[in-house]
């Protein structure tokens, strides 16, 4: 632990242990190596994909999103959004480069969103249904009485 006194800011910012695991790619040294250039190329490729998806989304939003069937438009927009999110998380955030157990540990809690979205949106639409239909209104009134 005597190393901490040598560079005190290191001790204050983070413990020595981050040195041990600081990135899978940490062992590289030459920024101009073929591997490094390959990585940079991949980053720019993802940028162009994200840009193209956004242009498609905006183009669709400006033109056909009001004439095509609503369910189809929602499906397309949500799919494209998830594809974009996937690229950002996997490549920009390097989650795709982490070991599988870490990837699974981070992603599993997000499964909660499946239930959140279904439960709350269903609740919202039932509320609208209650407001709009007399039979449902009668049903709730009976419950209240």
């Amino acid at each position: 632990m005597s190393g901490h006194n040598k560079h005190s800011e290191q001790f204050y910012y983070e413990g020595d242990q981050s040195k041990l695991y600081s990135g899978i790619m940490q062992h590289h040294t030459d920024v101009n190596s073929a591997e490094s250039r390959e990585q940079v190329k991949r980053i720019w490729k993802i940028f162009w994909i994200l840009l193209a998806i956004t242009i498609v989304e905006v183009g669709l939003g400006m033109t056909y999103s009001h004439s095509w069937p609503k369910a189809l438009v929602i499906f397309i927009f949500l799919s494209l959004t998830l594809v974009k999110a996937g690229f950002i998380v996997a490549v920009f955030m390097h989650l795709g480069d982490e070991i599988k157990s870490f990837l699974v540990t981070v992603l599993i809690p997000l499964v909660l969103f499946v239930w959140f979205i279904i439960a709350f949106l269903a609740d919202g639409s039932f509320w609208l249904h209650m407001n709009n239909t007399s039979t449902a209104r009668h049903a709730t009134e009976q419950v209240e009485n």
Partner: protein
């Protein structure tokens, strides 16, 4: 356990044999991931709440009608163009951030500083755009609520709470071509006014919360840029702090992807 053994070992592991992190990441990096996970739940709660409100509303403002302004193009209707620019800026700043992280992996101090600086500039550009859009939307809401400048002091951002507000004051936010929407505006104007009120409340809350994240991201980036230039990470032997702040910055971009879809597209 001596540290030198661990450093020289550094193998790619699939099964945990003990003696090191089972996830092969440092404590700090794992914790930033779990912070982002909790932040994702917060933003998720906001967006799902927005979705629920939208689902129980008979009518909802049309984004193509609400977001159609662009600086210096007053009077022109250019739906979605300005938010496309904002999205482009944020994606671009995400790329410069990942390039800074990449340079950090190679201990390339000069490039880390360069790309961090571009990321900061991108973040500030995004915030400036948001400031313009907020000011514009606020102006729209005041204009809608009252034509009298003296009333400005009573107006809240996007609040439509006065039941005496005539329907013509908020009709412009709704689709002019959908007969069902126009029917609700004519027969139940208060329902449409409540939707307008909810729409702007969610808009300002969620984009505000996101903008707050961008702001703190810019501050973090400035801090690590100062540290990089001062050689703190060079002495430390790794640029993991750039990686951690990079994760935060990408997360902010990620949230914008969903905000963009939920508010401007759907």
């Amino acid at each position: 356990m001596s540290q030198t053994t661990v450093i020289t070992a550094a193998p790619k592991i699939d099964a945990w044999g003990g003696g090191r992190s089972p996830y092969n990441v440092s404590y700090g990096k794992m914790m930033i991931w779990f912070f982002l996970l909790s932040d994702a739940l917060t933003f998720g709660a906001f967006l799902i709440s927005y979705g629920t409100t939208r689902f129980f509303s008979a009518v909802w403002p049309d984004p193509n009608q609400v977001f159609r302004a662009f600086p210096f193009l007053e009077g022109h209707s250019v739906p979605l163009l300005f938010v496309s620019l904002m999205t482009f800026i944020l994606i671009m700043s995400s790329v410069t951030m990942v390039l800074a992280v990449h340079a950090g992996h190679y201990g390339d101090k000069k490039n880390v500083a360069k790309w961090l600086l571009w990321t900061i500039i991108g973040g500030i550009c995004f915030l400036s755009c948001q400031a313009w859009e907020w000011t514009h939307m606020y102006g729209e809401c005041i204009k809608v609520w009252s034509n009298n400048p003296a009333d400005v002091q009573h107006g809240l951002w996007g609040s439509f709470t006065d039941v005496n507000t005539p329907v013509e004051k908020f009709r412009e936010f709704f689709s002019p071509t959908k007969a069902a929407v126009q029917h609700v505006l004519d027969t139940q104007p208060l329902v449409a006014m409540q939707s307008t009120h909810n729409f702007f409340n969610y808009f300002f809350t969620i984009t505000g919360f996101h903008g707050g994240h961008v702001t703190s991201g810019v501050i973090f980036n400035i801090l690590i840029l100062v540290n990089t230039v001062n050689g703190v990470y060079e002495r430390r032997g790794h640029y993991e702090m750039v990686e951690k702040i990079g994760l935060y910055w990408h997360f902010v971009d990620l949230v914008w992807v969903f905000v963009f879809t939920c508010f401007y597209l759907l």
